[in-house]
Each structure stands twice: as structure tokens, then as C-alpha cells.
């Protein structure tokens, strides 16, 4: 049965991104929306849109029953989940299939398998992918000290002692050398017992100052898996990616190929289909370890599209309709130039990145060579309080990393969002940091630097800014007063624009 209409089970920029692909492919689009999203860009962009009623995610974009009702009502024959919300929910994928809809993503069993940290790790080990060295079985309280020492020595130092039942940092201890091990295990066991009622712990090698590098891949329903050139996502604030790029700086072709092979092996072992991403940690010696798999389209997919020329969303749809991957594996793995993405959030970077929802009163979006803006908002839209505060992704492409970086800086200068603060000033600062310019990245650097600079403004206000603001304020007040006077005088308010243009034209002669 040919696919004609896709329901996009998401909102914001990613819903718009997917609808653009649908429109390019001649497919119809159905949007869903919460009460506050009625005027949102993704709703107005869609061919048809249907209300979910309510605002909280649990009443709207997470409601499988409502979404399936809308699919039935609208006659959609496929569902694209985007990222976030229900994108990695196997029950949703299953419900779509049972309702006779094509789910644009992997099968429910694969979502379940790769969604669990432990089964995903087992799958990676089975596929021969390196994982962070650690103990294979729990170190239970009856394991004697000598055996504990032997197990830890085999893992290597520094290592982390973690509670098997753990979470939230409880029952977790760093051990830098063998001498402090036994004490650390004793403390971790007692903390774990107190917090989770289970004293079992395990050891995992501590990867110091790791880089986060990931491999995008596409897999069709006929057994072909194509890994793409890597993305570096090491610029993170509190474990959230803020800047991504492709290819990774300081990354050899040999390393790229080994990582891509490992990722493809994991995907094959998992029986993976559609678009997915395998995340790795990379240590200072360029050794890499499987971290997890994301069974969906990623936020940062555009950087891969920019350097390979492949439209990942169109391929997701084509794979879902059963087409064979006809891409050249060499094209997918060979970057053409360099791309950088900044995630623009409605947050005030000068107030510890506090979310600042509100109405966008003015907007100027950058353009020009190498610039792509994947935005979910427009002037007049009120960024709601209920969902993630990302409003746009700005992507810059250049023939090399430095050109991409300079283009991004130029575009950030063109970008204006009025009415609410955004993280744009933070990016102008970040892209000028010496470590970023050199491409010396790791996942801990940004938090450490933010801690150190403690609230200093990202773009300092200079006298030139103040002078311009003074002149602008005076001019604005003066023009407003003059308009008020003109409006009060009969005959002048209705002066024709054509007459004004003619007078200005005469002055130029």
C-alpha cells in the first residue's frame, strides 16, 4: 500500500523539519497540537492539524490513544515520531503497527532491546564493540576483600565503584589507586544498602575527560547498514549537548573507519532498521567505548546532512516504505567540508541558563552562504512553558572547520530574537574560546569553565553599545512624540506614502 499521508507525532522545529521532507516528496502532512500550540509554526505549516486538547505533555504529545484517534480520523497511513516524546517508546511503535500504520523507525522489539542500558551493552559486547571495561557480574557483599582487589586490578584505575541498583550518585565512589579500594567499596556498599536495599556494586573504568563521539547510521529492511561520518558532541552543559559538529576535530580516518565498523556491527547484531545513532566515549588515547544507542532521529542530524549531502529524513521515509538503501557507503563516510550546529534555547545565559518562555516580538533569521536555520518559531509566537525550550538550530557549513566557525559567528551576529532572552550570546562567547578554536574538546570542559567564570556576562556591554542605545532611545522617544503630534493634526496623518516617496525622490535628484 503506497504511503500518502504522514502524521507527525511531535511539535516545534523537528515537526517542521519532517513536514518539509514530506512536502518535497509529495506526501501529505498531519500535525497534532496542544492548546498553546494552536498558533505554532508546525501547526500552520501542516496540510491538516488536529487538537490534542490540554497542554501538559502527559495530556497531549505523550497520549498514544489520542494520537492514534487522530491518525484514524485524518486517514494518515504512517507516523513519524521525531525525537523526544514517544520516539523511543516501544508501546507506541507497537500500537501504530497494530492500528495498521507504518511506524517510521525501528521495530518495537529493537526499540526495547536498545533502550535498556544493560541489554544494549550485552548486544554491543556480542557484536565485538568495545565497552567501558568493568566487572561482568555484581560484586555482592559476600565477596572477600582479596577477591574485590583482584577484580578491581583487572578493571584498572582510576575506576568508579557504582551501586548495581544505583542512580543519582548514591553508592558511587571514585577510586584512583589500589590502596583506597577496600574502604571505598565498604562505603559504597553501605550507601547502596541504605539507599536501594541492595549492597551489590560493580566496577567500571573511569574515562577521564572523555569526548562524546557518535555514529549516525541508516539500515534498510533488506540487511544493508550504512554508517556515516562521525559527529562530535562534546560541548555539553550538565550532560546536555549544546554544540555539535561533523567531522570530529582531531580525528583520524583510521579511527573513523574503526568506529563506523563497530557501530555497524552493533546495528546488525540488534537487527536494526531505519535511522539510529550509536554513541561512544573516546578517551585521551583515542580508545573508544560503546555508550548507548538512540533508536530515532537525533537533534543534531543536520550536521551529518550538511557534510554528506544526504537527506536523512527522506531516507527514513523511504526505508519505512521498504525501499533499498542505494547510497554509496563511501559517500556516507567521507565528509565534504565541516558543519557546526548551535542549539538556540529560550534561556538567559547570564542568569545561569534559566528558561525564559514568552512572546517573540521580533525576529531576524540569518542567511547567506553555508547557513541553515531549522527553526520552530516565528514572530508573535509565545514559547510555551510546557515543553523543551529549544527554539531553533543554527547550522553553519564551511570547506573546513575554521570557515564553518567563522560563518557561524557571522550568522550569530545576524540572528536577532526580540521579546525573550536566548542562548545566542553564549554561543558568540563559546565559539571564540581558544580550546574550541583548537578543537580540544571533552564533555567536562564547558561546565568547568562556566563554574570558573561564575556569572560574568557572555557578551560584555561596551561604551559603543551604550552610546548606540542612548541614541536609539532618544530617537525612539522623539519619533513617537512626533507621530503623536502628526496624528493629532488634521490632514497630516493620512499623508500618502506615494507623496512621501515622490518628495524623497525629488531630493535625491
Amino acid at each position: 500500500m503506497p504511503m500518502k499521508t504522514i502524521l507527525i507525532a511531535n511539535r516545534g522545529e523537528i515537526a517542521v523539519r519532517i513536514m518539509r521532507a514530506c512536502r518535497e516528496m509529495g506526501l501529505g502532512t498531519v500535525a497534532i497540537y496542544s492548546d498553546v500550540d494552536r498558533e505554532a509554526r508546525h501547526v500552520r505549516y501542516a496540510d491538516r492539524a488536529f487538537p490534542l486538547v490540554g497542554n501538559a505533555p502527559s495530556d497531549t504529545y505523550l497520549r498514544i490513544d489520542k494520537i492514534l484517534d487522530i491518525a484514524r480520523l485524518s486517514g494518515a497511513d504512517a507516523v513519524h515520531p521525531g525525537y523526544g516524546f514517544l520516539a523511543e517508546n516501544e508501546a507506541f511503535a507497537q500500537a501504530c503497527l497494530e492500528a495498521g500504520l507504518t511506524f517510521i523507525g525501528p521495530t518495537p522489539d529493537v526499540i526495547a532491546r536498545m533502550g535498556s542500558k544493560t541489554t544494549a551493552r550485552d548486544c554491543a559486547i556480542a557484536a565485538g564493540a568495545p565497552v567501558v571495561p568493568g566487572t561482568q557480574t555484581p560484586v555482592t557483599p559476600d565477596v572477600a576483600d582479596a577477591e574485590v582487589q583482584r577484580l578491581a586490578d583487572a578493571v584498572g584505575y582510576p575506576l568508579m565503584v557504582k551501586a548495581v541498583a544505583g542512580g543519582g550518585g548514591k553508592g558511587m565512589r571514585e577510586v584512583r589507586e589500589a590502596a583506597t579500594l577496600v574502604d571505598a567499596v565498604r562505603t559504597a556498599r553501605s550507601e547502596a544498602l541504605g539507599a536501594f536495599g541492595d549492597a551489590a556494586v560493580y566496577f567500571e573504568r573511569r574515562v577521564l575527560r572523555p569526548r562524546h563521539v557518535e555514529i549516525q547510521l541508516l539500515a534498510d529492511q533488506h540487511g544493508t547498514v550504512i554508517p556515516f561520518v562521525e559527529r562530535e558532541c562534546s560541548v555539553q552543559r550538565r550532560h546536555q549537548k549544546v554544540i555539535e559538529e561533523s567531522p570530529a576535530p582531531r580525528f583520524s580516518d583510521d579511527l573513523r573507519r574503526r568506529m563506523a565498523d563497530a557501530a555497524a556491527a552493533v546495528a546488525r547484531a540488534a537487527g536494526y532498521t531505519n535511522a539510529g545513532t550509536i554513541e561512544f566515549l573516546v578517551d585521551a588515547d583515542d580508545a573508544f567505548y560503546f555508550l548507548e544507542m538512540n533508536t530515532r532521529l537525533q537533534v543534531e542530524h543536520p550536521v551529518t546532512e550538511m557534510v554528506t549531502g544526504v537527506d536523512l529524513v527522506q531516507w527514513q521515509i523511504r526505508i519505512a516504505r521498504g525501499e533499498r538503501l542505494t547510497l554509496s557507503p563511501e559517500q556516507a563516510l567521507t565528509p565534504r567540508g565541516h558543519a557546526i550546529e548551535c542549539r538556540v534555547y529560550a534561556e538567559d545565559p547570564d542568569q545561569r541558563f534559566m528558561p525564559r518562555p514568552g512572546r517573540i516580538t521580533s525576529l531576524a533569521v540569518p542567511g547567506g552562504p553555508g547557513i541553515r536555520d531549522d527553526s520552530g518559531v516565528e514572530v508573535g509566537f509565545e514559547v510555551p512553558i510546557y515543553y523543551d525550550s529549544m527554539i531553533s538550530k543554527l547550522i553553519a557549513w564551511g570547506t573546513d572547520r575554521e570557515q564553518a566557525r567563522c560563518r557561524m559567528l557571522r550568522a550569530l551576529g545576524e540572528y536577532h530574537v526580540g521579546g525573550i532572552p536566548t542562548t545566542l550570546p553564549f554561543f558568540r562567547w563559546m565559539l571564540e574560546q581558544p580550546a574550541f578554536i583548537r578543537g580540544e574538546l571533552d564533555t567536562t570542559m564547558l561546565d568547568a569553565e562556566l563554574e570558573r567564570r561564575a556569572g560574568e556576562p557572555f557578551v560584555p556591554v561596551t561604551d559603543a553599545h551604550l552610546d548606540a542605545a542612548l541614541l536609539a532611545t532618544a530617537s525612539s522617544a522623539f519619533l513617537a512624540a512626533r507621530r503623536a503630534t502628526h496624528a493629532a493634526l488634521p490632514g497630516t496623518a493620512a499623508r500618502s506614502g506615494w507623496a512621501t516617496a515622490a518628495r524623497l525622490g525629488a531630493l535625491r535628484k
Binding site: 528558561p355 542612548l470 532618544a474 530617537s475
Partner: protein, 168 residues
């Protein structure tokens, strides 16, 4: 037109009049006259051409409080306050003495109130935690002081601008 403009913690006097050519605005500032070419592009957007030819595209947002504006210039937001009369004391921008009200910067839910009336707080110490956009946001005192009043309770939903805690 005579204006008192407050920005960056200081007040300056500016006299504004029309220039000789269309679009020209003459600004008398201290002992100098700056003739700028100012074009109003609508929706608060102004294109300024300074006497030395420097171009400044700015966006002037009118704040809800009369006379208060936020000027966006080269990616920086500068709050300003213009008035045709001299005001006694400083406006909200520079006030340091007297009670300090901590207001909700966004709609959300109060999840924690770590302080009680009578507590002594340091500058930057969190006094109320609000949940909005699925994130917890600690609001801190801008300066040291003593908590005079706590105007909300944990679990309460608050709209933007609602006073939460008063310090003195």
C-alpha cells in the same frame, strides 16, 4: 524635546530636534550635537547612521512600564528609561536601598522554599525554586538581606511577575 535617559546606572540629558534633511535627528548631548540619520523600519526596528558613517541596526522594545525600553544593539540588550521630567531617586534599574521583591520571571510551580521569614540570606543564595519547562530554577537574592515575607507556598502555581519573597 528634552529627555532624561537612564541606562547603565547613569542619567544623561539629551535634547532632540529634527535635522535639516528627512530622516535626520539632531541630538544635543553634553556640549556636542550629533546629527544622526534615523530610519524607522517599523515594529521597533531603527536603522541609525552615526555622524562618522557608522551603521547601527537596533530594535527598540517598549516595556510594559511607561518610558522603559529594551534596546537590542549588536546582540546586546540594554535596558533604558526615558522621561521628559527629572525623576526623584533612581528608577527600578539602580535601586539598592529598601525592600527587595523577588518575583517569578516566568510562570511555573513553586517546588521548594528554602528560607523562612527572619532568615539572613547572602547575595546569590537561592530563596525559592520554581519548576518551569520541566527544569528546576533556583531564584536567588540579588543582594544580602533578611527575609521579611514569604508570599507563596510550596506546590503553588505562579504567573510571571508574581512577587514571591520580600527581603529587607
Amino acid at each position: 524635546m528634552r529627555l532624561h535617559i537612564e541606562q547603565g546606572g547613569r542619567v544623561r540629558q539629551v535634547t532632540v530636534s529634527s535635522g535639516a534633511l528627512p530622516g535626520e535627528v539632531a541630538l544635543h548631548l553634553d556640549d556636542t550635537v550629533l546629527v544622526c540619520d534615523v530610519r524607522d523600519l517599523g515594529h521597533g526596528r531603527l536603522s541609525l547612521r552615526l555622524p562618522d558613517g557608522s551603521m547601527r541596526d537596533v530594535v527598540v522594545e517598549m516595556d510594559p512600564i511607561p518610558g522603559h525600553r529594551t534596546v537590542h544593539v549588536q546582540g546586546v540588550r540594554v535596558p533604558t528609561m526615558a522621561s521628559t521630567r527629572v525623576r526623584r531617586g533612581a528608577s527600578g534599574v539602580a535601586a539598592h536601598a529598601g525592600p527587595l521583591r523577588i518575583v517569578a520571571p516566568m510562570p511555573g510551580k513553586v517546588v521548594r522554599l528554602p528560607v523562612r521569614p527572619g532568615d539572613r540570606v547572602e547575595a546569590h543564595q537561592p530563596v525559592v525554586v520554581i519548576e518551569a519547562m520541566k527544569m528546576e530554577n533556583a531564584l536567588s537574592a540579588g543582594r544580602a538581606g533578611t527575609v521579611r515575607e514569604v508570599l507563596v507556598q510550596e506546590g503553588m502555581s505562579v504567573e510571571a511577575g508574581r512577587p514571591l519573597v520580600v527581603l529587607e
